[in-house]
Symmetry: C2
DNA sequence: TATGATTTTTAGATAAGTCTAAATTTATTT
DNA sequence: AAATAAATTTAGACTTATCTAAAAATCATA
């Protein structure tokens, strides 16, 4: 039991379970995968029968350790392929998601481990998301959203919460990249926007942007 | 109409059509794909309905130009991924076939074209097979089987006809690699084996080996 | 807390790709 | 040329993943 489809369900459940406490709802999975609740309901029964999820009708679902470890392996593959696409094939960070969605299903630990070495064992993907290691251990990074940095605070851009094309392209236009240092100059109470100094330039970022930008602050 | 399965059928038909004159038989396809003739029969109807093959019941099949161009694109992807696996990830030439079978179905011309540049536009895969270009043009190489080289003849190893693990590993044990220069010292009429000088060593190769080794001869 | 709204599940269908067994067509051989 | 053998196709069934429509369970609130 490890088809393309099953892998996508596990990945979706893993992703959603990061955002909520308790079980993941059928509807949420359906929306995430782009399918109907009825279809998800069927699939949950199969995943449960295969001990990949804990599932009680009407109660939402969580991954078993087996399911989680499979999900993490897919995420590992996805993120390593993204690094490959950006670092080696010169794709931009907003172009790699769909390709990685395909590549992540290639089934070979040997391949992915060699790819990892070839890429010099990166710890983060092009969007700043951590890459699980071979054992499925995922590095937690001490980072906060830019909304949590107050005036005078200094941070280094470590990642994005929203990795949609639109947001990534917006960051490109503002020439905001991972690793950039920024200083919060002002916070406007009115709309919660922030003026920051970054790359020698001063710019004002809306609350929505600040929410979706992760930074590591000086400790 | 371009599923994983369809792609495999087109590739199989292309491969088989190189070996025979006229149409490819249903049974041959079934054996090549590892399925049953009945299944192939069904699929041929669908491929025909989609104008990917020319098909008349009981008469065998050939690819249309559309089908051939799709087949060549898959072969192009397969061979470029093989180069990647060997050149960049240090796989051995007998280890890459199954992985390339998976990777070849990744659907993106942009990806494969960038991969091609990244690999410095190789013209041949690790087994010496030519890589079709973006337009599906495949370079024919002037090469002959070693069985066609007579005493005193000189050749450079350009490829293998049989790229099975077993044969490739045999070549490894004999330290025979693409590009090696060899001279035919003797041909034994009895069993059609050949003694050759290669890498400073003298060795005798059976007819079966000679049949499956391609060389470019001095012209 | 009852009742309407929402969520989830079940039931029944569909499409793709596969199978076995039987029927049909083509090839071979006496 | 007829009979047998081999190859191919058809018929009917199964599996996986999906859908719509309807039923059932949970929730939210008047």
């Amino acid at each position: 039991m490890a088809s393309f489809t099953v892998e996508n369900y596990l990945k979706a459940i893993y992703g959603l379970s990061q955002k909520v406490t308790g079980g993941v709802s059928t509807n949420a999975i359906a929306e995430s995968i782009g399918t109907k609740a009825a279809t998800v309901s069927d699939m949950l029964k199969k995943l449960s029968a295969n001990k990949l999820i804990n599932y009680k009708k009407y109660q939402g679902t969580t991954l078993t350790s087996k399911g989680r470890s499979m999900a993490l392996n897919i995420i590992r593959k996805h993120r390593l392929w993204e690094v490959f696409l950006v670092e080696k094939l010169d794709f931009k960070w907003d172009e790699v998601h769909d390709l990685a969605e395909e590549l992540e299903h290639i089934d070979s630990d040997e391949l992915i481990n060699r790819l990892e070495s070839f890429l010099n064992n990166p710890k983060f993907d092009p969007h700043g998301d951590p890459i699980p290691d071979r054992a499925g251990v995922i590095q937690r990074r001490e980072q906060v959203a830019l909304t949590d940095v107050s005036v005078g605070g200094v941070g280094y851009v470590t990642g994005v919460k929203d990795s949609s094309r639109e947001f990534l392209q917006f960051l490109d236009t503002q020439e905001i990249e991972l690793g950039n240092k920024l200083v919060v100059i002002e916070v406007y109470e009115y709309d919660k926007s922030r003026t920051v100094k970054l790359n020698g330039k001063t710019m004002t970022l809306s609350q929505q942007v600040c929410k979706n930008l992760f930074v590591r602050t000086e400790t």
